[in-house]
Subunit: 221 residues, 4 copies
Amino acid sequence: MPSLYNRVAGQSVERLAALSDGIFAVSMTLLVLDLRVPASEAIHSERDLGHALIALLPRLIIFLMSVMTNGIFWVGQQTQLNHFARADRNLAWIHIAFLCWITLTPFSTSLLAEYIHYRIALLVYWFNIVLLGATLYWSWSYATRSQFIGEDAPEDIHAAVVRRIGIAQTLYAAGAALCFINTYYSIAAIVLVQVNYAIAPRFCWGIFSRKSENKRGAGEI
Amino acid sequence: MPSLYNRVAGQSVERLAALSDGIFAVSMTLLVLDLRVPASEAIHSERDLGHALIALLPRLIIFLMSVMTNGIFWVGQQTQLNHFARADRNLAWIHIAFLCWITLTPFSTSLLAEYIHYRIALLVYWFNIVLLGATLYWSWSYATRSQFIGEDAPEDIHAAVVRRIGIAQTLYAAGAALCFINTYYSIAAIVLVQVNYAIAPRFCWGIFSRKSENKRGAGEI
Amino acid sequence: MPSLYNRVAGQSVERLAALSDGIFAVSMTLLVLDLRVPASEAIHSERDLGHALIALLPRLIIFLMSVMTNGIFWVGQQTQLNHFARADRNLAWIHIAFLCWITLTPFSTSLLAEYIHYRIALLVYWFNIVLLGATLYWSWSYATRSQFIGEDAPEDIHAAVVRRIGIAQTLYAAGAALCFINTYYSIAAIVLVQVNYAIAPRFCWGIFSRKSENKRGAGEI
Amino acid sequence: MPSLYNRVAGQSVERLAALSDGIFAVSMTLLVLDLRVPASEAIHSERDLGHALIALLPRLIIFLMSVMTNGIFWVGQQTQLNHFARADRNLAWIHIAFLCWITLTPFSTSLLAEYIHYRIALLVYWFNIVLLGATLYWSWSYATRSQFIGEDAPEDIHAAVVRRIGIAQTLYAAGAALCFINTYYSIAAIVLVQVNYAIAPRFCWGIFSRKSENKRGAGEI
């Protein structure tokens, strides 16, 4: 009986991962549709095309920011799924909700690309990030309570995951608050937080944590 | 000889699952294309953008409803695939038909989002759900007759799957019938049925079934 | 040394399958974009919407035909991949070419949906099917010559695969030739060939083949 | 402890591969959207449609070139992933960057298809290829330094991968430089380089390398 349960539940974690990879793949690729090729009526020379491409730069930055947003949450969700020894239907639905917010990212990215000076667009984008973080937190706490975490997970992984989501969301909220001064400051702050997580994760991490190098290996990617 | 057959057939179930995950992923992500970013000509202030986003709320509800529709049928199909020890070409084609109805959901969702007051749009959406349920039922009954169900499936799984599809389709039909009063009532009823299945499956389930907790584990997710 | 080779090559067959499932999934879902929701300017009543949906029926038939085209070639490619014990770079490129023709199907489908009365549109659609069949044939003959077929494949599988592609392409060519009378005859003929392969494969198969039931199991799906 | 690390890291390589296959699949399928079906207003006869399709030929060539670009980098990334015994978070982010450039290929392809006579469009396309090559090189050198390469990889694989990326990028740069004479020469040169890599890899390879046939098997696809 338990072997059956594990087999079926294990397959479920795998298929949850497969659905997630598919949704992240489509969502990340749809983001590029905001980089619209300049309309040919207005382009009569190399110079015109060059100017039109330079005018696309803000959209390119939004695009890169959203690819990073997706990448960060892909790594975060993956870390969780890799540690789940089992799953149940509730957990599957928590992750379907998570994936629903991921499919919203092309919309909120598009909105921000179109209305880069508008606070509301920035706050919608930020709210999308909040939904993603809250649902990942929900997933982890539900899995912990239901004892779905595999036995080989490091002891302090619970604290690490919770702290990580908390710090990231605090930084995002602080960045989003800057939009009341200027939306560009907000975008710069969010990009900085993301680059920090993607390229130099040790910085933020190091301040708040004394986890040893050995243990960190298991809790990441 | 049987080991060959199982190996090839087993790979087929896996690839059927992979194709399904891909189609669900694309279909769920395409749903977001109905949330169109407000046209910039009409937006001159934060207030304008706020109003334009509020006007998008009905489309957001349709979007969430369709993500739930996809999620419910993804969980339903997955449960079946996880219990199949083998497959054959007919079963593959039944699932290709099922996936064909899934690829139609972005169309029927779009139609309903555009014509939310029209009964025909609501009935097309409902008919899409009927096709999905009927094909899943067909898949299960064909697999049962062909003895494709793995030996470790719980004894009463057949009754549970059949009852589940029957109850869900009855509730959907009742919800759809409300469109002759008002399409909003129908949408509210369908969303309620779906939220019940996604968030609190025990409610509906509990009324009609006395399955023990132990056995339920295997038949779900 | 051989174990290394097998491991790497085996992974390659798996990733080829994963890329294929992804491309089929996206391509099949993009087909639905030809079913455009009627423009709201022309719709003022339930009756208008009903008529507009009825006017979509030819496009719906083209859509269903293309889902079947994709389904048939997915099953065909899958059968081959399941029998490959190894792969090399040339085989990978043959399958990338095959997938390239698959990504063309949304274009040729769209062309036919828009120009259903034009022979050229029908011939482009048919040429797409020819490319798919020819590339699958090329894949199989290359894999056979390179001895990539697994040892547990049935003896007469080579003849069965070759015969099957030959018969199907002959029927498609005959169907396409009908376009010189009327493109609707062609579409009806192609749909009939496809329904025959999908729903009742024994018919065509049975005429030309005396393969026993036992052996057929391994060569299909 | 090492077994845990390997398990989690191994799952990560698999999911990286799954995300990659998904993104390549979506990106390759989106390329076809540049082949726009001729607008029906201008088509009044078979002859009109024929001419409109012939006018699509340059776009078809760009489409085929981009499918090859994607195919080449898919094979290249796959070769690397197949040899990685482990991964860490930095490697995951290098590959997310790589996939980000892949999602840009539909944009740069679309730009080139629309502005085929403009040097800037050609140089943007080439820069996209440079980013892809540089990131793959970065991935390989990081993985080598971090000792992520599996023990069964052939001895000279490092030199082979580095040489291969170097030669390919040199040829691409030479081809792109031709755009200062005529962009069509550039496109022809890039297509030639790609066809050479896809169809007849031995040619370029043979000039610069004396690797034996035996060893080559492991380093490819």
